[in-house]
């Protein structure tokens, strides 16, 4: 689960991490009130207007603007609120439709008092799958695309692995601060910044923290100017407060609906829908659709129970996509019996009554033969198969 920048910053702040202060606003009135408050607290006329969407590269699409006074604040806030913001990370990239901006963050000018004396730093924390340890990745080259930095100047990207039994050790925090070329007050601030940041990462069961940029100011403070925070969905049961931060407006509405039914659905761009039990088999089914000349329209794992109610929910979800020209159901029945699934498909089909695309049902495993007979005798426009290759051949034939 991803957080917005403002939510991520609030989380960091609750662990004592210094952040660029800001106030979130959903309309112009709130934006103006936020500006006055920020101005009073910072003693600075400058403020930044930042679009709050779940995508990076917001500045590239005009979603981050500096306001030097109230008039500029109004102008930028008015432009950004409600815009369809295109960034390299929104669906379709800079050529896509973009994402609707519903909220903006009015943030203090973190680069005051001396912009030219500021240094931008990159810091992230994530779990390294290969090492099975958390790692802090950091670089003096903040404010840039870190993948590009790693490719072009790998010696400028440092990694510090954390022993899970001991946590972040004091020498490691010192090492980070030294390698970032800091000294004096800035060195001390970074040491503390890193240890608080790591504490926040572990305590919130995060899967990613990315602070880019983190700024060393002219007066040697260390401030998180941006925050990208992803949390481990599997750990949300012990973070009820964080679970409430989920913004379903940022997710595909069909995926949100599917999730409410307990279906694991990911929307894709193809023309053949699929309904499968098990994630690995679901991916393999998508692959076989492609090999049969189609393109998968979705990933959908119906899980262990595939009764009529569930199959019907899955049908409805898949058919919301107008690009779907056929649906392949692929169930390997183990504990779940194929004849029950077949009856579920027949019942769901009859209940819906208006399915206009060809349905191919491949049922294999417990009672597969009985299941095929149920489908074949139903008189419905449903084609049945037992072997995976047979199903693939039928998909090819109907496209």
């Amino acid at each position: 689960m991803n957080l917005h920048e403002y939510q991520g910053k609030e989380l960091l702040k609750s662990f004592g991490v210094a952040i660029q202060e800001g106030i979130v606003a959903e309309n112009l009135e709130e934006a103006v009130a936020a500006y006055h408050k920020i101005k009073a607290e910072s003693g600075n006329d400058f403020a930044i207007v930042k679009a709050q969407i779940h995508a990076g590269g917001r500045g590239k699409g005009g979603g981050v603007k500096l306001a030097k006074n109230l008039d500029e604040l109004k102008e930028h806030a008015g432009n950004i609120l409600g815009m369809m913001l295109k960034t390299p990370q929104t669906p379709g990239g800079m050529e896509g439709a973009g994402k609707l901006v519903r909220k903006i963050l009015i943030a203090e000018d973190a680069y005051a008092p001396d912009f030219d004396a500021c240094k931008e730093i990159y810091i992230s924390i994530l779990m390294d799958r290969g090492r099975k340890q958390n790692v802090i990745i950091y670089s003096t080259e903040g404010g840039m695309d870190i993948e590009k930095v790693a490719e072009e100047t790998p010696h400028l990207v440092h990694k510090e692995y954390i022993d899970p039994k001991l946590g972040l050790l004091p020498f490691q925090a010192r090492k980070v601060a030294f390698n970032l070329g800091l000294s004096g007050k800035a060195f001390k601030e970074m040491r503390s910044f890193i240890s608080k940041l790591y504490k926040a990462f572990v305590a919130s069961d995060a899967s990613l923290f990315e602070i880019n940029p983190c700024v060393k100011t002219g007066d040697d403070r260390i401030i998180a100017v941006d925050s990208k925070v992803s949390l481990d969905d599997n750990a949300l049961f012990r973070h009820k407060d964080l679970a409430e931060l989920r913004d379903t407006d940022e997710e595909d509405p069909t995926e949100v609906e599917a999730k409410s039914y307990g279906l694991n659905y990911v929307k894709l761009d193809g023309n053949v829908g699929c309904m499968v039990n098990g994630a690995g088999l679901a991916m393999a089914t998508m692959d076989i659709i492609k090999l049969s000349g189609g393109e998968p329209a979705n990933f959908l794992d119906v899980g262990g129970t595939a009764d009529a109610a569930r199959v019907e929910q899955a049908f409805r979800i898949i058919l919301k996509d107008p690009n779907v020209k056929a649906i392949l159901i692929n169930i390997f029945g183990g504990i779940v019996r194929c004849d029950r699934v077949a009856q579920g498909v027949v019942d769901a089909y009859k209940n819906m009554g208006n399915i206009s695309v060809p349905i191919i049902v491949r049922l294999q495993g417990t009672n597969a033969d009985i299941a095929k007979k149920i489908i074949d005798d139903s008189g419905l426009e449903v084609k049945s198969a037992i072997l995976l290759q047979e199903a693939a051949d039928i998909v090819k034939a109907v496209l």
């Binding site: 779990m127 799958r129 099975k132 899970p164 039990n277 393999a284 029945g333």
Partner: protein
């Protein structure tokens, strides 16, 4: 002889009296698996499915000589259950539970490093040595005693492979479901190594998926040490970047953990890579004839 589990294993079930544990323990016993007892804290002294229940794994080990444990414990408590089994001296720990927080698994991995045991999973269907022991949730009847080892990160896709291997007239020595999480106890390479060294295994089916580098590491190991034919498939050739495809570990992070990149490395290391998941059984049959 097979690997990891067989008719001589002494198996206990953690979460024995729960709904999942009861159902699958029943299925395992029906298959003929040597289940000797179970553990549910607070229910020690009971008898369940005609087997003794203990409060702690340590007690089950000392009273029954248990050496293998299968875990059906909810995600919030599963990491603790794995560590309890390891501490009690269980040698093969099979964790079925899906949805364990990643940071819990980071701790578990570190804890297990210093102990003499092997964890399979989590988020896996378990292990089966056909005709001897079914220690998992897979449907027993699709398996047949034979000499093909199977390693997979998935559940139903493993069954698909098993079914094809059986229909090709071959059978399985041991099938190892290593699990679909980002951190698993036994990697693809380690599971392949076990089967490569097993005198009762003639060929190996290796099924991977997008995300991580386990298949590439296994492929490099096979290139250097392989003595038996390996058929490989990677699920998720059509998966988009950056989206989790059901399994917590099935997510493309960069250019190296796509299905295409993995298949390329596997083919270069001498693995018989199939593009279609429908061709696993037939390809194994052909590879064995060579």
């Amino acid at each position: 002889m097979s690997v990891l589990v067989n008719k001589d294993s002494k198996i206990i079930v953690q979460g024995f009296t729960g709904k999942e544990g009861s159902f699958h323990a029943g299925q395992m016993i029906e298959y003929g698996t040597p289940v000797v007892g179970g553990v549910t804290p607070g229910k020690g002294g009971m008898t369940h499915l005609d087997k003794p229940v203990f409060n702690t794994v340590a007690e089950a080990v000392s009273k029954l000589g248990a050496d293998t444990s299968i875990i059906f414990v909810p995600p919030a408590f599963a990491a603790d259950a794995v560590m309890e089994a390891a501490d009690a001296g269980i040698k093969v720990i099979i964790c079925i539970t899906e949805g364990i927080p990643v940071q819990d698994m980071v701790k578990v991995k570190a804890y297990l490093e210093e102990r003499d045991c092997r964890l399979i999973g989590p988020n896996c269907p378990g292990i089966i040595t056909p005709g001897e022991a079914k220690v998992g949730i897979m449907p027993g009847f699709i398996h047949r005693v034979g000499r093909i080892g199977i390693v997979s990160r998935s559940g139903t896709l493993t069954y698909e492979a098993v079914d094809q291997v059986t229909k090709a007239g071959l059978g399985q020595s041991t099938c190892i479901g290593i699990g679909g999480d980002p951190i698993v106890g036994t990697t693809t390479k380690e599971a392949v190594q076990l089967l490569m060294e097993d005198p009762d295994t003639d060929g190996i089916v290796m099924i991977g998926e997008i995300g991580g580098s386990m298949e590439a590491e296994a492929a490099e190991w096979i290139k250097a040490n392989g003595t038996k034919p390996v058929v490989g498939f990677i699920a998720g050739q059509t998966a988009p970047k950056g989206r989790t495809m059901g399994h917590a570990g099935a997510i493309i992070g960069g250019a190296e953990d796509t299905a295409e990149a993995k298949m390329k490395i596997m083919a270069a290391c001498g693995i018989h890579v199939v593009k279609s998941p429908a061709h696993i059984g037939a390809t194994m049959l052909k590879a064995l004839e060579k």
